[in-house]
């Protein structure tokens, strides 16, 4: 089979409407095998609908989806481990039995399921909870169980919708580590999130969608390079109004302790930056001054702003 050579997920011009609401419009994307792919967008942008089509829960109105070269359908379900945004487990079933059941549904042989469940529960520090009912567990614990449900069958593709939401930092780190392990094993991981810093930390590819449309798609490093080192980060104390008056600064976003200055395209050379520093130094107390590629957050905001103002033009 051509499975290994084909990209993990290919969506071609998929559409999905609910009555008059167009949830996804003309979305095309390619998730390369082995990538950690950030699927980003604000709430209600069509992320979850797109994902549900990739896992064959919903069917697109038009367009095609291929999983490792095979048209999406019931037979591609075993290739994908899915953590839905709406978490759900049988509340009155025991943790261990439930995971064994979900593993068997993904065609893990019964003889093997038990051992895997035990190993995974120990990995997420819930080894003692196998015989407890799910509704005896805290929300964070249930979240980890749900995560195990996605990875237990060891599928080549993981689709995780808001995988770290509702987790405390310790557990978020734990799942982060597991995710990195999975990437090291060559898994393709699609992360859907609206938290840009998370995507920035983990992803090598990103795809931004807004209101059902794709607005940006590519390698994270390429996207950053394309916009150039257009941002200055300044940690300061003093009057933030001064920041906007510096030469070559298009706009400034003040966060209180620090600010991000957006540079005009003609003001990104070392000479221009030095000039800004000379302008600010006598007027503010500066503890840090750094020229950066824009954050994903900045890229996203810019792109959304530039595409959604003339919304009718892009439709």
């Amino acid at each position: 089979m051509s499975a290994s050579s084909s990209p993990a997920i290919v969506c071609e011009a998929i559409h999905k409407s609910y009555g008059d609401v167009r949830a996804v419009e003309n979305l095309s994307l390619t998730v390369p095998t082995g990538a950690v792919y950030g699927f980003l967008g604000p709430n209600g942008s069509g992320k979850t609908t797109s994902i549900r089509m990739m896992v064959a829960i919903l069917l697109p109105d038009s367009g095609q989806i291929h999983i490792h070269g095979l048209p999406v359908g019931d037979h591609t379900k075993d290739q994908i481990g899915y953590l839905p945004e709406e978490r759900g487990l049988y509340q009155k079933m025991k943790v261990g039995e439930q995971l064994e059941f979900l593993a068997e549904l993904k065609r893990v042989p019964k003889s093997e399921a038990k051992g895997r469940v035990t190993r995974w529960l120990e990995r997420v520090e819930l080894g003692a909870w196998a015989d407890k009912k799910v509704n005896d567990l805290s929300k964070g614990m249930q979240q980890k169980i749900q995560f195990i449900a996605a990875v237990i069958a060891d599928p080549p593709i993981l689709i995780l919708d808001e995988f770290s939401s509702g987790l405390d930092p310790v557990n978020a780190n734990l799942l982060n580590d597991i995710l990195l392990e999975q990437r090291a094993k060559g898994k393709t991981i699609l992360l859907s999130t609206h938290r840009m810093e998370e995507a920035e930390r983990l992803c090598d590819h990103v795809c931004l969608i807004n209101k059902g449309h794709k607005v940006l798609d590519g390698r994270l490093s390429d996207l950053r390079a394309a916009t150039g080192k257009s941002t200055l980060r300044v940690d300061y104390t003093g009057d933030p109004a001064i920041l906007r008056q510096a030469p070559g600064v298009a706009s400034a976003e003040d966060f209180g302790n620090y600010a991000e200055l957006k540079l005009r395209p003609d003001a990104q050379s070392p000479q221009s930056v030095a000039e800004i520093m000379r302008f600010l130094a006598p007027r503010l107390v500066i503890t840090r001054f750094e020229q950066l590629e824009p954050s994903l957050n900045q890229i996203f905001l810019d792109t959304v702003a530039s595409t959604s103002v003339p919304a009718s033009a892009s439709a």
């Binding site: 896992v55 829960i57 919903l58 759900g88 009155k92 039995e97 979900l102 993904k106």
Partner: protein, 427 residues
């Protein structure tokens, strides 16, 4: 096979709950307990005979009364009548107050259960007085009264000159045997078969109502716990839905099998008791009902599956238990209509309306069984109706799977019918 995994989970998690174990084994135990208690009470009351003193002022009725009472006491073991032990106390009209006083004392001291005063003119007045500690012992009073009536009648007939031998032959009881004349020329008695049919279809209804709701809850539960999205990412909705329905049906069958075996044991025990008591129970059984039982089994399975799939559809549309209660009302009404139609069909099994109705899948399980019970529909009709039932079940499950696929993702308000139809298109 993923569907087997779904069935297995459904069966295992359901049969292992405390509630299931309690109902499955507790109910037969409870029933056995009641039967045992009842038996003990009957035994106890049968072994006790009322000790009664008789003051016969007529000086003639006592021998007759004693004869009647002795006979009925001998039969008490089989017909459940009261037992009496009579002793005659001599007295006269003048001495009656003293006699009564001493008897009253004996009653109060419990060496007597009661005493009977038969007046001198008993044959014409037809009254007597019974004094007892426990005036409310209804059965004792009724049996005593009936014995007195017989004794008085015998005495009067004897007085009228009818010989004793003739008296006994005149007292025989009468049985009316009912025979059914049917178009096929086959006449068998009908009453028991109709009763059997009512018992069978009532059982069918009870099962469909009880377990249909279980199926509905099972589906709604997946929506409310939101596990359905995880499940659907692993298995296609049709397998999931079929698996759930078959799983709950299998659970029900396990429970019903346990109950059936217990019931069989009770009945077998009861029949041997009747046999031992010298009662020929076979005359009360319908003749050769094996075809009826086969049909019942077929339609039991088909009807159960069909209604389970409809309940599952309701479960997949609604998003909470309360909503489910309201939405299932129309289905309950359909079930009730079918149940009442059964009585029409029972009375008119061969009219075209009955024949047509017995093919409508939602009514067929009950009405076809009724027709088989009270008339002789052609075998092809029975099988065709059965096949139609199964096909409808299959179709219902298909549609339910589609509704479920879309329904889980929309947990807001209950959809209207047009919205439902659109859902079917989305899926």
């Amino acid at each position: 096979m993923k569907i087997l995994t779904v069935i297995k989970r459904e069966l295992l998690t359901r049969t292992r709950t405390k509630g299931f174990v309690f109902f499955t084994f507790g109910i037969p135990l409870l029933a056995a307990g009641f039967l045992f208690l009842e038996y003990q009470i009957v035994q106890a009351s049968q072994n006790v005979s009322s000790n009664i003193a008789v003051v016969d002022l007529s000086q003639s009725l006592y021998p007759e009364l004693n004869q009647v009472i002795t006979k009925s006491t001998a039969q008490a073991a089989t017909d459940g009548g009261s037992r009496f032990h009579l002793t005659q106390v001599e007295s006269t009209a003048a001495a009656l107050p003293q006699t009564e006083e001493s008897l009253r004392q004996r009653v109060l001291h419990k060496s007597l259960d009661g005493y009977l005063v038969i007046p001198a003119d008993v044959l014409t007045s037809r009254t007597a007085q019974y004094h007892a500690r426990n005036a409310a012992a209804f059965a004792v009073r009724a049996d005593l009264s009936s014995s007195l009536r017989q004794a008085v009648n015998r005495a009067r007939m004897l007085a009228a000159g009818i010989p004793t031998a003739q008296l006994d032959s005149m007292a025989g009881s009468f049985d009316l045997n009912q025979l059914k004349v049917s178009a096929t020329g086959d006449s068998r008695d009908n009453g028991q078969t109709a009763i059997l049919a009512i018992v069978l279809i009532s059982a069918l209804y009870l099962v469909m109502l009880l377990y249909g709701v279980v199926v509905m809850r099972a589906v709604t539960e997946e929506k409310t716990t939101r596990i359905s999205e995880v499940l659907l990412s692993a298995v296609d909705p049709f397998s999931l839905m079929l698996g759930k329905i078959l799983g709950v049906v299998a659970t029900a069958l396990v429970q019903l099998a346990v109950w059936g075996i217990c019931l069989g044991l009770f009945v077998a025990y009861g029949l041997t008791m009747l046999q031992a008591a010298g009662i020929n129970w076979t005359q009360y059984m319908p003749h050769d009902a094996s075809w009826l039982y086969v049909c019942f089994l077929l339609f039991f399975i088909a009807g159960f599956l069909l209604y389970a799939s409809i309940y599952a559809a309701i479960g997949s549309v609604v998003s909470s238990e309360q909503e489910a209660q309201q939405t299932q009302l129309p289905l309950t009404i359909v079930l009730m209509v079918g149940y009442y139609l059964a009585f029409y069909v029972m009375a008119n099994p061969t009219t075209w309306l009955s024949v047509v109705l017995s093919f409508v899948p939602f009514f067929a399980p009950v009405l076809m069984v009724t027709r088989v019970a009270v008339s002789n529909p052609p075998v092809w009709q029975v099988l065709a109706s059965f096949a139609l039932c199964l096909a409808t079940f299959w179709l219902c499950t298909k549609i339910t799977a589609k509704i479920y696929r879309v329904g889980i993702l929309m947990t807001g308000k209950r959809p209207t019918l047009p919205e439902l139809l659109r859902w079917l298109k989305y899926a």
